[in-house]
């Protein structure tokens, strides 16, 4: 026993030494800040694997600036304060040149003050609620106008939905997205009483009452549509209940913003055919680049694995970063940031993604129908939509804009023509 304890003590001492030792700079270090344990591991481990694959691939091509890339993987364990701690550790101890990471908004908000203080660089790959533009973050996922608004338009225009059920997990992304959608729907003439909002806890599994409530919404003769921002594995119970209740997509369609190929791999989708999801990427997209990417991923991670939207976001973000570094000739954050503006890289779905000076990508919006094999059938694709950091549909943020190139400000009030703050609002 005591031997074991001594080992543990020795380990602790070793930690101190290791964490303070400097590293030689013969490689370019890339921090991977994704939870590998805890509740978010379900989504984030895939992204860690994606990053390792991309880095591996780049090294085979000869690295960047003639140096090999080295991944520094840490585990923030779905613990939000730990995200800040690990980010600081990556920047100051491991001296990484760039970080790819985070999934939930709260983890990003936790990391923000650290990277802004230490002038780090983070690529954030997940669709999010917007209302933010940090100098040190590039948002490669969708802002609300690249996912939620087009999907709602699709409901209004194509499906003729008149009554909306906004179901979400109780956290900031659904809250803000639903807020934006409520205000957007009101501008489209949908009265407040025709918008039903419900929030459930993470991992919620008892959906019968909520599904019954949604069905009951149809009692006033209007076509009901569900907009789901339900997160992670709570979706499984939700869709199972939906299938059990026999709700067909023709009667009450459900469009989800957080359900991709990964989430569907956890359930049998034969009863869910026709329900929808809105993303910027689906595995079923037909292009040569996508076919190559899927092949590469299956070879790396296993035949049964699927690709999804945040993986494409990392794919684009990583390649843009590589090109920006090559263009800048250095990994210095300020130089790379300037080189990132206007960077272009082909989407896996066809077309080209462009990085705007508000640090958001312009990407096409796709709407897919769930198929029996757990994949999506893409039924609608828009032209590339530039990501909007500050939504136009909330009065407080309609006056704000972000432009790091000309204005050097991520929160610029166009009404008063002044920069509200240089740092982010966290």
């Amino acid at each position: 026993m005591s031997q074991f304890l001594k080992t543990m003590l020795g380990a602790a001492a070793g930690s101190l030494m290791l964490s303070t030792a400097g590293f030689a700079a013969d490689t370019i270090k890339i921090g991977v800040l994704h939870s590998l344990s805890g509740t978010m591991a379900i989504s984030e481990t895939t992204l860690k694997d994606t990053m390792l694959m991309l880095i591996d691939e780049q090294n085979k091509k000869g690295g960047v600036l003639g140096k090999q890339l080295e991944a520094v993987v840490v585990d923030p364990a779905s613990d939000w304060p730990l995200f800040a701690e690990k980010a600081r550790e990556l920047l100051t101890v491991s001296d990484v040149d760039v970080m790819f990471g985070c999934w939930t908004s709260v983890s990003r908000k936790s990391v923000l003050p650290v990277i802004e203080e230490l002038n780090g660089l983070l690529f954030y790959p997940v669709q999010y609620e917007g209302e933010e533009s940090s100098k040190n973050v590039f948002y490669t996922g969708a802002a609300p106008n690249q996912q939620a608004i087009p999907a709602t338009d699709y409901y209004l225009e194509e499906l003729g939905v008149e009554k909306f059920a906004l179901l979400g997990t109780d956290y900031v992304y659904p809250r803000t997205t639903n807020n934006i959608l409520e205000s957007y729907l009101k501008t489209k003439g949908i009265p407040a009483e025709d918008i039903f909002v419900n929030y459930t806890p993470f991992g919620h599994s008892d959906w019968s009452k909520i599904v019954a409530d949604v069905v009951a919404l149809g009692a006033d003769g209007k076509k009901v549509g569900v907009i789901s921002t339900i997160n992670g594995d709570a979706n499984i119970g939700f869709y199972k209940e939906l299938a059990a209740a026999g709700i067909s997509a023709d009667d009450i369609p459900v469009v989800a913003f957080s359900v991709g190929e990964e989430e569907l791999s956890g359930l049998d989708t034969s009863n869910l055919v026709g329900h929808l999801a809105a993303w910027n990427y689906f595995q079923s997209a037909e292009s040569d680049a996508n076919a190559a990417f899927i092949k590469q991923w299956k070879a790396f991670a296993g035949e049964e694995r699927v690709t999804n939207d945040p993986m494409e976001a990392h794919f684009i973000g990583f390649n843009m970063w590589v090109n920006a570094v090559e263009a800048a000739g250095t990994t210095d954050v300020d130089a790379v940031r300037a080189a990132m503006w206007g960077q272009e890289y082909p989407n896996l779905t066809g077309g080209t993604a462009v990085m705007g000076t508000n640090h958001h990508l312009s990407k096409p919006v796709l709407i897919g129908e769930i198929q029996a094999d757990g994949q999506f059938d893409i039924i609608s694709a828009t032209e590339p939509v530039p990501g909007d950091a500050w939504t136009d549909f909330l009065p407080e943020s309609a006056v704000l804009k972000s432009d790091w190139n000309d204005l050097d400000c991520g929160m610029y009030n166009t009404a008063t023509s002044s920069c509200v703050q240089q740092k982010s609002n966290y």
């Binding site: 194509e158 199972k240 209740a245 023709d250």
Partner: protein, 661 residues
């Protein structure tokens, strides 16, 4: 630009067609009138938007061509493909690998197998599919295939229009299938409510549905009784409106603020002065460090701003804001009322009357549905807690890894399903397997860890917590972090529909039955078997039991294994209805402990009561606040905490010596 180019290309293609036709033996599809019609609407079909597609659908439907029905059917089923090179449309029977088996619309001849990459699938979205289905109604209402007739009725029920009503009526008498016939009759009445020509006809249809629970009935009646709030000058509403009621500003239904807002919205009164407007006006009139006669630096006070604004008004630089008396006058000069969208008074009266007859019934049935939901939730909690009722309730062992046993059961179900693809068979195999796996795990844990800690119950908590986090991480390492599919057999799919309001899914019924079986099993085991007797003896006094010839070690081991095994079976059931992840068990552990504690430790009826109470309580709170499920859980736990203060030993408390300490 793009469009012109495309048109030019099309011209080229069309003019080139005869040349191609000479070289191929089959006649060119372009010559067929149906293809020409499709080409005429080519752009709308390619664009595929519900807003613009109607002319194309109508043109095909009304073309009178024999192929029109085929085109609509294939198009709606997404079997229509377009050749990229010339834009011609075909339909596809089969997609084999990268090849398509193509057919011509005009005469349904097979064109051949051609590579997929040369063609583009036309994918109408479900909005367009609905329109296409509606256009097919004309062809399908008397189709020999009952499935097609059913589909036609579905389409009518969703987005039926007045135009289809005569066709529907005409098809009723000749309908051979009694089920479809009654559907047609019901649909006819529903459509009459909406589209009937005379009020008498509509009222008759409305009255017919008195006391009907269907959502479709309420869906037809509610739009009739829907009201709009309006304001009009004078003291009486305009004569031509069907007024539901007149409202008095300041009353309960309409506050004075709302009433004035109504006037502003209708343009009948000037807007109020908002703080932002006031600020903007002040800023716009800043002149030499002051605005409206007040120094700018002093404008950080609302009173000063009001003064300054008043100054601006006096100077004629800003519009006067509505004052209190003006608002009073405006409210007095107008009448506020709700109007029905439906102009005919007798119709709205009949609709209201019928709705009233439905309402009470709906309310009763909704409560019944809620009670079923609550019962189902209670059975899930009971199922999750029953293993704990044995290990914690009877043996007094605090097993924090109980949730992980549930998880192990669910994963066992998943693994069995990987080996045995038949869902029914795999479920039959999975249940004993799950029991065996978790029984073994439970016995192992009891032998290796827990038996050393019987004297230190609180430390059992820590040790089993350690096992719990280790097991959770092990599950992650083995199965990955993704949720794994555990699919219920087809006979558990769907739900039992009692009426349009009350329904419950079969899987929940199955869980309820399983919970009952376990309850019976537990009672039998504890009261009627030797093991049960020995367990109770060992629990009450291990030393005495040992001296009676009972081997306490063996009894403890078996009892613990049994409790764990039951948790494993519960895991299969929970996995079927929710999800299979490594965190599955952690979601249930605190609730399970509370179920046992609230019910009263050591008594299975207590656990049952505890689960029932928690289930009903949670659904009850959810009913009060349907938009926030989290709040229901919070207040449920707060209630339990308070409940335990008053009944510290649970609902059914053991009395006397058995209670121990």
């Amino acid at each position: 630009m793009n469009r012109i180019l495309r048109a030019a290309l099309m011209l080229l293609a069309v003019s080139a067609m005869p040349l191609v036709a000479q070289t191929t033996p089959t006649p060119s599809p372009i010559q067929a009138p149906i293809q020409a019609l499709l080409q005429e609407h080519r752009e709308t079909i390619e664009k595929s938007s519900r807003r613009s597609i109607q002319p194309a659908i109508d043109a095909i439907r009304d073309s009178g061509l024999p192929a029109a029905k085929l085109v609509l059917e294939k198009w709606g089923a997404r079997d229509m493909w377009q050749r990229k090179s010339d834009g011609l449309f075909f339909y596809v029977e089969e997609v084999a690998g990268s090849d398509l088996t193509l057919f011509d619309f005009a005469d349904s001849t097979q064109i051949g197998n051609l590579p997929k990459s040369d063609f583009k699938q036309i994918k109408p979205n479900s909005g367009i599919q609905g329109l296409i289905a509606l256009s097919l109604v004309k062809f399908q209402l008397s189709d020999p295939d009952p499935a097609r007739r059913g589909a036609a009725l579905d389409a009518l029920a969703r987005i039926g229009e007045a135009a289809q009503l005569p066709a529907l009526r005409a098809s009723i008498d000749s309908e051979p299938d009694p089920a479809l016939k009654s559907r047609k009759q019901r649909l006819e009445r529903l459509m009459t409510i909406r589209f009937g020509e005379t009020d008498a006809e509509r009222i008759a249809a409305i009255r017919h549905f008195a006391g009907d629970l269907g959502v479709d009935v309420r869906g037809a009646l509610n739009p009739i009784t829907a009201t709009t709030r309006r304001a009009a000058p004078g003291s009486v509403p305009p004569q031509d409106m069907n007024v539901a009621r007149i409202l008095r500003p300041g009353g309960e239904a309409l506050s004075r603020t709302e009433a004035y807002d109504l006037l502003i919205a209708a343009g009948l009164a000037p807007a109020r002065l908002t703080i932002a407007d006031q600020r903007a006006a002040l800023i716009a009139n800043i002149n030499a460090g002051s605005s409206g006669g007040v120094a700018v630096s002093a404008l950080d006070d609302p009173a000063a701003r009001d003064r300054a604004y008043a100054g601006l008004v006096v100077a004629g630089l800003a519009p006067a804001a509505a004052t209190g008396t003006e608002i009073d006058a405006a409210l007095a000069a107008h009448v506020f009322f709700d109007t029905f969208a439906e102009p005919a008074r007798p119709v709205t009266d009949a609709a209201q009357e019928t709705l009233r007859s439905i309402e009470l019934k709906v309310g009763i049935n909704q409560s019944l549905d809620l009670a079923l939901d609550a019962l189902s939730l209670a059975s899930i909690y009971f199922l999750a807690a029953i293993g704990l009722a044995i290990t914690f309730g009877v043996m007094g062992v605090i097993n924090m890894a109980h949730g992980e046993f549930i998880m192990m059961g669910a994963y066992t179900g998943y693994v069995v399903q990987q080996v045995i693809p038949d869902y029914t068979l795999s479920l039959i195999v999975a249940i004993p397997c799950a029991f065996a796996v978790t029984f073994a795990a439970g016995v192992a844990m009891e032998r290796l860890v827990i038996r050393w800690l019987y004297a230190r119950p609180l430390e059992t908590l820590l040790a089993t917590f350690g096992i719990s986090i280790a097991l959770q991480q092990l599950a992650k390492n083995i199965f990955g972090t993704q949720a794994r599919p555990l699919t219920s057999p087809a006979w558990l799919d769907g739900q039992m529909v009692i009426n349009d309001v009350v329904s419950i899914s079969y899987i929940r019924i199955a869980i309820f039955v399983l919970a009952l079986i376990f309850l019976g099993f537990f009672l039998f085991l504890m009261k009627k078997t030797r093991l049960g007797l020995e367990t109770r003896a060992v629990t009450q006094n291990p030393k005495m039991a040992a001296s009676m010839g009972i081997n306490p070690d063996r009894v403890n081991m078996l009892t613990f294994g049994l409790g764990s095994g039951i948790a494993g079976i519960a895991g299969v059931a929970i996995g079927l209805y929710a999800k299979v992840t490594s965190e599955l068990g952690a979601d249930y552990i605190v609730q399970s402990f509370m179920t046992v504690v609230v019910g009263g430790v050591g008594n299975i009826w207590g656990t049952l009561l505890g689960a029932t109470m928690i289930g009903f309580l949670q659904k009850g709170i959810e009913w009060f606040n349907p938009s926030n499920t989290l709040a229901a859980q919070t207040y449920m736990i707060v209630f339990i905490i308070i409940f335990i203060q008053f009944r510290p030993r649970g609902i059914i408390a053991l009395k006397g010596r058995a209670a121990g300490d």
